[in-house]
Symmetry: C2
Subunit: 138 residues, 2 copies
C-alpha cells in the first residue's frame, strides 16, 4: 500500500510547487523548487538537462520534498506535506512530462518546454517511504 493517502495525492497533483532536497557530494543538502506529479504510486519530476540534482540522486538516492497547501490551521501555521523517499533516474521523457505538468502549473494553453526540439532529458521517480508535515496525510 502506498504511504500517500488520497489527500496527499491530490496536493501532489494540484500544481503546488515542491521544495526538493537531494544530497550533494560530501553529504550537504542541495535544494531546488520543482514541478511534481504522480505516476501510479511514484512521485515524478522532469529535467531537460543533467542538473546537479540528477547527479546527486545517482550517487545517493535519499530525497525529501515539502509542499505547502496555502491553508492556515487554527493558530496560523500553514499546512504542508513532507515526503521522504528513495529516488531513481531514468533517461528520456522529460518534454512529455513537462508538458503534462505545465497544463496544471501554468495553464491549459501553454506549450512547454518553450523551445523547438528539446532534449530528451531525465525523469526522477520517487518511491515514497514516509510522510510528515502538518495536515491530514495519515
Amino acid at each position: 500500500m502506498s504511504v500517500l493517502n488520497e489527500t496527499a495525492r491530490q496536493l501532489i497533483e494540484s500544481g503546488a510547487p515542491a521544495h526538493f532536497v537531494t544530497l550533494g557530494k560530501g553529504g550537504s543538502p542541495q535544494m531546488s523548487m520543482v514541478w511534481v506529479g504522480l505516476d501510479g504510486d511514484e512521485i515524478v519530476m522532469a529535467h531537460l538537462e543533467e542538473y546537479q540534482k540528477v547527479r546527486n540522486i545517482r550517487r545517493d538516492p535519499r530525497v525529501a520534498l515539502s509542499i505547502a497547501t496555502g491553508r492556515l490551521n487554527a493558530i496560523g501555521m500553514e499546512e504542508h506535506l513532507i515526503v521522504y523517499g528513495t529516488a531513481c533516474i531514468t533517461e528520456g521523457g522529460a518534454p512529455e512530462l513537462l508538458q503534462r505538468l505545465a497544463f496544471t502549473y501554468v495553464g491549459p494553453d501553454v506549450v512547454f518546454p518553450p523551445m523547438d526540439d528539446p532534449p530528451r532529458g531525465y525523469l526522477t521517480r520517487i518511491t515514497p517511504e514516509r510522510v510528515s508535515g502538518m495536515g491530514d496525510w495519515r
Copy 2:
C-alpha cells in the same frame, strides 16, 4: 559582506514560510516548514521544544532553506530563494522570537505562542554562505 542582498533580506522578513532542511543521523535529509526572520546578517528561527532539527544541527551544522515568492516568471516558473549555510543552536529566547515573527506571519493582534508560561526553548541561528534559486538574489 553578507551573501544576502536587500531583495533576499526583504523576502526573508516578509512572512513567507521557509522549507528547512537539516541532516539526520546517518545523513538523511530532514525537512520542516518554519517561520524565519533576520537578526543582523543571521537568519533566525525559534523552537519551543528540542525537536529533531535541533538535535540534527548539534550533530551536523549544514542546513539549507527555500522560500517561494509567489511571483511567476515569464515562462510560468515561480521565483524562489535558496540559502545554504551553517547553523548553531542557542538556548532560550524562543517565545520572544516567536511573538515577533507571529506579528508578521499571523497578524498584528496575535498572542503567540498561545499558552501561559511557555518553555524558554531554542533558537537556530544560520550564517548564510551561498544563495541560489530563481530571482534577483545576486
